[in-house]
Symmetry: C2
Subunit: 137 residues, 2 copies
């Protein structure tokens, strides 16, 4: 019998509330540094370590979501349905999409290999509509 002790946030502190509010008020995908700068710009006082810890804590509560890109993690609101991402390598724009059939086929593919899925991440790279035009000119 193994007892696993999980420590949850004792409280949504002022700092964590500020992080959560910031992310919930936008549709962006924030990295830790952007969050820290945005909060400091509004006059809040928050250390970068607190931002990292706050983001982790909020995510483990399911209050925010994240995607792991090549270089860094980016966080976004959790009150949207599951979706995946297209990243424009030209301008960094992130487009969201969801496709039920793709999701179902992933599950089937996992089943065939004996995998018990816990998550997935599909990232597509390319050029957004705007950057495509600039390439043609």
């Amino acid at each position: 019998m193994i007892t696993v002790i999980i420590t949850f946030m004792q409280k949504l502190t002022a700092q964590r509330q500020a992080i959560l509010d910031l992310i919930n008020a936008s549709n962006r995908h924030w990295d830790a540094d952007e969050v820290a700068r945005a909060l400091v710009d509004t006059g809040a006082s928050i250390g970068i370590a607190t931002v990292y810890r706050g983001l982790s804590a909020l995510e483990s509560q399911g209050l925010i979501d994240s995607i792991q890109l090549a270089d860094k993690k980016r966080y976004e609101r959790a009150d949207k349905a599951h979706h995946d991402h297209m990243v424009c390598t030209g301008c960094g724009h992130i487009e969201e999409f969801s496709h039920d059939t793709i999701e179902a086929l992933q599950e089937a593919a996992a089943e065939k290999k004996g995998f018990k899925l816990t998550g997935h991440q599909l990232v597509m790279f390319g050029f957004c509509r705007k950057c495509r035009q600039e390439l043609d000119t």
Copy 2:
């Protein structure tokens, strides 16, 4: 009129040939450190910086492939058809799979958003057959 000068490898040096041979002789997904250690173990003399540069050069020639995982990049043989990956969070085992319908639907999803795709990466996380059993016991 913009001229882009691309410098290719002048030559497949002994070090890069050794990296390529090592990777081609296995079905593993190697990180840079594993490659370096494996080569040093066979008596070869190669610096870690050379391994990183060699892996990059070989990949840009299309001689090897890579996947970007959360913490590090992993390299594999390029003489297999395109495929995606399932990573076992229990033991690190990487299973490969390919699904033509998923690929086609991705292209369609990109088209709908105006994206010109250049690549994608689908990573599924979960527990492999072996680790599933150990969880149940």
